[in-house]
C-alpha cells in the first residue's frame, strides 16, 4: 500500500513540530526518517499512524483520505521504541491481541495459536510463547513487538526508533534481520531513527529532517554523495566546515584557489564543507594549503589528523596513511580534492549545536551516533 502525507503541519504550543511536510512512501518501500531529536520525525510517523492529528494537511492510504478513519480501522502495525508490550500478558497473548480484538472474521482460537507460532518462528523466538515480557531481553522484546504488529497483517508498518533502546551489538543484528523480514513480507515500511548508519544501511530511501522540514529525500548513496543542503552534509558522516570566498566562479581560502565546482553561487562569502576523504596530504611538494597539526588519532588502518589552517585557524580533519609519521605541532600542506561549497547563511548541523566546542571528539561521538541519545 502506498502512503502519502500531504502538506502536514503540526504545532505544539508555539513551536512548529511539522511545517508543511509532504512525503510519499511507495508500496513495498522501506523508508527511513532520519534527523536529530526535535526534528519532527516521530511526530510525522505518529501522524501517519493516526496517533496524532495534524493541524492541517491530509494523510492518504493509497488514495483514501484517512482523516475520518479511526486508528483501529487503519491497519497500521506500530512498533514503539520502548516496545510497549502488555506486561501482564504472556508473549502468546501479546501477539494474539490484535487477532482477538477483531470484531469481524475473528479467527478461531486454534487458528490464532497457529498464526502466533508462525510469527514466533518468523521472529526466531519459537518456544518463548509462555514467557512474560519481563523475562525477555531487550532485543527479544522488540522482536515480540514486531511479531505483534505483523499479526494483524498491517497495510503499513511504522517503527519509532525501533532499536534505539538496545545496545550496539543487538542493534546491528536486528537491523540486518529487519531487512530480511522486510524482503520476505514486503510490507510498506517507514521507520524513524537518529542513527545515520542505521538509516543508510537499512533503507531504500532516506528522508532527512530538520526543524520540522524535510531537508532531502533520496537513496542512501545520493544522501552521502550529493547532500542537498549543508545540514544533510554535516548530519551525515563526518565533516569540517571552513569559510571561503567565492569570486569569478571559483572558491578561495585566504586567496589560495580551491579547485572545486561552485555552481551558480553568487560572489561573496560561502562555506566549504569537507569530509575527511576530501582532503589529502601533499607529499610531492606541489601546491597546497599550509596547516599546523593539532591532534592525531589512530582510526583503524588510517590516522585521523586535525590541522589548523588559514589566518583564522580553521580546523580541518583528514585521513593520512598510518605509516607516515605525523606529530602534533608539525607543519604540513594539504590539498582539497572534494567537498561542496554552499552559500553563506546556510546552516549545517554542527554550526547550530556544536559551534562552541567543535572538537574532534564531538564529531567522533556524533559519527558513532552517540549524541542525541
Amino acid at each position: 500500500m502506498q502512503v502519502r502525507a500531504e502538506h502536514i503541519s503540526k504545532h505544539y504550543a508555539s513551536m512548529a513540530a511539522l511545517d508543511d511536510v509532504s512525503l510519499t512512501v511507495g508500496s513495498g518501500e522501506l523508508v527511513a526518517l532520519l534527523g536529530p531529536s526535535g526534528s519532527g520525525k516521530t511526530t510525522l510517523l505518529r501522524t501517519i499512524a493516526g496517533l496524532e492529528m495534524p493541524d492541517s494537511g491530509t494523510v492518504f492510504y493509497n488514495d483514501q483520505d484517512t482523516s475520518q478513519m479511526r486508528i483501529q480501522d487503519r491497519g497500521v502495525g506500530f512498533v514503539f521504541q520502548h516496545y510497549a508490550l502488555f506486561k501482564h500478558m504472556k508473549v502468546m497473548d501479546n501477539i494474539a491481541f490484535g487477532l482477538r480484538a477483531r470484531k469481524k472474521d475473528r479467527p478461531k482460537e486454534a487458528e490464532i495459536r497457529r498464526r502466533v507460532m508462525e510469527l514466533l518462528d518468523l521472529v526466531q523466538l519459537s518456544g518463548l510463547e509462555g514467557r512474560f515480557p519481563s523475562q525477555l531481553s531487550g532485543g527479544q522484546r522488540q522482536r515480540v513487538a514486531l511479531a505483534r504488529a505483523l499479526a494483524i497483517e498491517p497495510s503499513v508498518l511504522l517503527l519509532d526508533e525501533p532499536f534505539g533502546a538496545l545496545d550496539a551489538r543487538v542493534r546491528k543484528d536486528l537491523r540486518r534481520w529487519l531487512r530480511e523480514i522486510h524482503e520476505r513480507t514486503g510490507h510498506t515500511t517507514l521507520f524513524v531513527t537518529h542513527d545515520q548508519e542505521e538509516a543508510l544501511e537499512l533503507a531504500d530511501r532516506v528522508v532527512v529532517m530538520s526543524k520540522g522540514k524535510i531537508e532531502q529525500s533520496a537513496t542512501p548513496d545520493e544522501i552521502y554523495d550529493t547532500p542537498a543542503t549543508p545540514f544533510v552534509f554535516s548530519f551525515i558522516g563526518e565533516s569540517s566546515v571552513i569559510p571561503v570566498a567565492v569570486g569569478n566562479g571559483r572558491a578561495t581560502l585566504d586567496e589560495r584557489v580551491i579547485d572545486l565546482e561552485v555552481g551558480t553561487l553568487p560572489d561573496g562569502p560561502a562555506q566549504l564543507y569537507l569530509r575527511p576523504e576530501d582532503v589529502t596530504m601533499v607529499t610531492d611538494g606541489g601546491p597546497g594549503i599550509p596547516g599546523l597539526v593539532v591532534s592525531t588519532r589512530r582510526i583503524g588502518g588510517m590516522r585521523r589528523v586535525t590541522i589548523e589552517c588559514g589566518l583564522a585557524r580553521h580546523r580541518i580533519e583528514f585521513d593520512a596513511p598510518a605509516d607516515i609519521p605525523i606529530s602534533n605541532s608539525q607543519r604540513l600542506q594539504v590539498r582539497v580534492i572534494g567537498g561542496r561549497v554552499y552559500g553563506a547563511g546556510s546552516e549545517g548541523y554542527e554550526t547550530e549545536k556544536l559551534a562552541a566546542s567543535a572538537t574532534s571528539d564531538f564529531k567522533w561521538a556524533k559519527a558513532e551516533g552517540w549524541l542525541d541519545r
Binding site: L51, Q72, F78, H82, K87, H88
Partner: protein
C-alpha cells in the same frame, strides 16, 4: 606495607553511603519511639479501655440495638460510597493521565479539594445545598426525597470526602506508565472498552486496590462532614463514629471504647486484606515492577 594497608581495607570496607553505627541506632530509636507513641499506643489504649469494665459490658455495648444499626448504616454507606468513588476515581484518572485537554490542572486541583477543605465545612456546604432554605431541598422534599438528616445526605457527604483517594492513587501511576501500551492496543484494532479492561486496568490494579482500601477506611471512619448532615438521630442516622461520640458524651466511656474497638478492627481487617493480597500476588507484582 602497601599490601598490609590494602588487606585491612578489604577487612573493613568503608561505607560510602550511610551514617556511623551510633547515629544509625539513634535514628532507629527515634523512629521506633515515635511509632510506638503515635500509632501503637492509641490502638492498645482503645482495646484496653474497651475491656476495662469486663467482657460483659463490652458485649452489651456491641449488642445494643443502636450500635447494631450504626454498624449497619456504616457498612451501607461504605458499600455505596466506595464503588461510586471507584468508578469516579478511575474515570477521572483515566481522563487526566491519558488525555490532554483544557482545564486539566484545574480539574486536578478540584480533585484535591475534599482533602484541603475541613470536613465540617464540606458538611455545611451540603446543608446549604439541600437544607430547608435552599433551592434543591424543598424541591426534593416535594418529591418525597429527604437528603439532609437521612441516609442520602450521609452517603453524599461520604462520597465527597473520600473522592480523592482512588484518583490520587491512580493518577501518578497512570502518568508514569504513559499511554504507549494503550496506543499499541488501539493500533492493533482494540476499541476503547477492550483497551481499558485488557490493558489499562491490569496495569493499575494494585494501585487501584490500595486506593479502594484507603477510600473504604475513610468512608467507614468519616466523622466531621457526616456529623453535620446526619442530624444524630439514634438508631437511624448514626454511623459508628457518631455513635461513639454520643456514648462518650453520655459518660459511657467503656461502651464508647468497645464500639471504637469495633471500628478499629474494621480498619485492621482492611489492612490485613491488603497485606494478604500483596503477599499472595507478590510474584506477579514483582514481574510488573521489573519493567
Amino acid at each position: 606495607m602497601t599490601e598490609a594497608t590494602s588487606t585491612s581495607k578489604i577487612n573493613k570496607p568503608r561505607q560510602t553511603i550511610g551514617e556511623g553505627p551510633r547515629t544509625r541506632l539513634a535514628l532507629i530509636a527515634v523512629a521506633l519511639v515515635f511509632l510506638a507513641l503515635m500509632l501503637i499506643a492509641p490502638l492498645v489504649v482503645v482495646f484496653f479501655e474497651a475491656f476495662s469494665r469486663g467482657l460483659g459490658v463490652y458485649i452489651d455495648a456491641l449488642a445494643m440495638p443502636d450500635t447494631m444499626s450504626a454498624l449497619q448504616l456504616t457498612l451501607l454507606v461504605a458499600a455505596i460510597a466506595v464503588p461510586a468513588n471507584l468508578v469516579f476515581g478511575v474515570a477521572a484518572s483515566w481522563a487526566i493521565a491519558k488525555f490532554e485537554f483544557k482545564g486539566k490542572s484545574f480539574l486536578l486541583t478540584l480533585i484535591d479539594l475534599p482533602f484541603a477543605v475541613s470536613p465540617v465545612v464540606s458538611g455545611l456546604v451540603f446543608v446549604l445545598l439541600f437544607g430547608a432554605n435552599s433551592v434543591l431541598g424543598p424541591w426534593l422534599a416535594d418529591m418525597g426525597i429527604q437528603v439532609l438528616f437521612a441516609v442520602p445526605g450521609i452517603v453524599i457527604a461520604t462520597i465527597f470526602i473520600t473522592f480523592p483517594f482512588v484518583a490520587r492513587e491512580l493518577i501518578p501511576l497512570m502518568q508514569q506508565q504513559g499511554s504507549s501500551e494503550e496506543e499499541a492496543a488501539v493500533s492493533l484494532g482494540a476499541g476503547g472498552w477492550r483497551t481499558f479492561f485488557l490493558v489499562t486496568l491490569p496495569n493499575v490494579k494494585w494501585g487501584l486496590l490500595y486506593g479502594v482500601l484507603l477510600c473504604n477506611a475513610r468512608a467507614m471512619g468519616e466523622f466531621g462532614a457526616v456529623s453535620v448532615v446526619s442530624g444524630h438521630i439514634r438508631g437511624q442516622t448514626n454511623t459508628l463514629p457518631l455513635h461513639i461520640e454520643i456514648l462518650y458524651n453520655d459518660n459511657k466511656a467503656a461502651a464508647a471504647f468497645a464500639v471504637a474497638s469495633l471500628l478499629a478492627m474494621l480498619a485492621l481487617l482492611t489492612l490485613a486484606v491488603k497485606t494478604l493480597l500483596e503477599a499472595r500476588f507478590a510474584g506477579s507484582l514483582a514481574a510488573q515492577r521489573r519493567h
